[in-house]
Symmetry: C2
Subunit: 273 residues, 2 copies
Amino acid sequence: MHAIDGKAIAKKIEDEIREKAKDKEIKIVTFVVGANEESLLFADLKDKACKRVGIEHEIIGFDLIKQEEFEKEIEKLNEDEHITGINIQLPLPKDLDYNRLVSKIDYRKDIEGMHPLNLGNITLGKEEILPSTPKAILRIIDNEKLSLKGKNAVIINHSKIIGKPLAILLLNRDATVSVCHVYTDDIKKYTIKADLLITATGVKGLINEEHIKKNCIVIDAGIKKENGKIYGDLDEKAAKKALAFTPVPGGVGPVTIACMLENALIAYEKIHK
Amino acid sequence: MHAIDGKAIAKKIEDEIREKAKDKEIKIVTFVVGANEESLLFADLKDKACKRVGIEHEIIGFDLIKQEEFEKEIEKLNEDEHITGINIQLPLPKDLDYNRLVSKIDYRKDIEGMHPLNLGNITLGKEEILPSTPKAILRIIDNEKLSLKGKNAVIINHSKIIGKPLAILLLNRDATVSVCHVYTDDIKKYTIKADLLITATGVKGLINEEHIKKNCIVIDAGIKKENGKIYGDLDEKAAKKALAFTPVPGGVGPVTIACMLENALIAYEKIHK
């Protein structure tokens, strides 16, 4: 058993980006709407990460904004040649249509990898700009030197941001992939056979030692706040049983931010070629 | 046990299209390169289907064509307002890059549903133009009045044309989805638990009665020619054990062609709105 050091992986990625970003005028924008605590926290983490690697970052905040106006703001930034990357901080207020907003971003500037063209390219096997969390999970798998071909991978999450694109990315690497979620009758039937388990439910301690086999690698992208502490989906005994696991905090989180920075570099290169 | 009548489902779809296409000038083009037997057969089936529903269809054939030239031909048709739908018949000669070709098609005219923007929209949950075979499979499931929520679906195929988009489509409907393929260690471990099994391998008789549980619905999109006869992936005894199954031929095939025609109608409407 060992805990995977997400901070160390993130640092390595950030060191590379800092080097590559040196002579480039990269400037990214994060839109934050509604100023809820979670959005502001993430936007702030992005801001600090940008500072660390020398990427300029602007947070554009709205208390309230209508769909149409928001789309116009995005179009302005698409045309602004000083802006090389755009991302919309989630969660958004419910009256805003995220799909339509993200589709408005110039796909080359889409540093969250959520533009349909970028997502569709993944299905075609053309991996260019990837959604940050799935990309971070791939990085962690690479870091463990785990070959995915023929491996039994189980994902507990079927959102458009994590589970769906991740399933395709793992299939691109010839893993056998099962995707479970809240409507799955008995997740244990799936998880117990996993060589690789990726869980992202936000249910504290959902995965206990009975859910996993020995030698399973568990990547925990779940986040649950309770009394000021942050918990993942994996409980302590399960973590001990696993061959390797990502702790929460300090696992997937920092790597996700680093992967977003790497997307900012890729976006810059797409625009300038 | 009952065999699902793909021809009847296709006829129903075609009857609807014929009615809707009546007052519209729909014209689609199928590109065929290399003139191998399989390509010509499929192009001919599309041609006959178009005639049945009153859609104009042109087959543009090349013995040999370079990537660049092919892309230019596509661009010409994108700009031609009389052409409302374009599709590239597979298989293609190996020197041609299908991903790049399909990305060149105006996504609104992409009646095979393989443009990355159309594929990516599926991941976002926006289902507009769907790849024909996965779309046909959804139609067959609907026709069986099978609710997918919480069901255990297993797909044996992880291609960009069938398995990957189908996995996302089934996840959009809250099925638990497992995707197996040639690198899967033991497919039986997965298939035996399936409420819904979709197989598309082209390995004659791959699925026998030991692979499936009673009450499983099996959709067989496999095609294997042997001595002039066509076989699916499912053997006879398995077909008898299943709650319902699609025969080969006469199952998924005709519905797929009908779904391509329906895409032609959707494409027409996208262009004219």
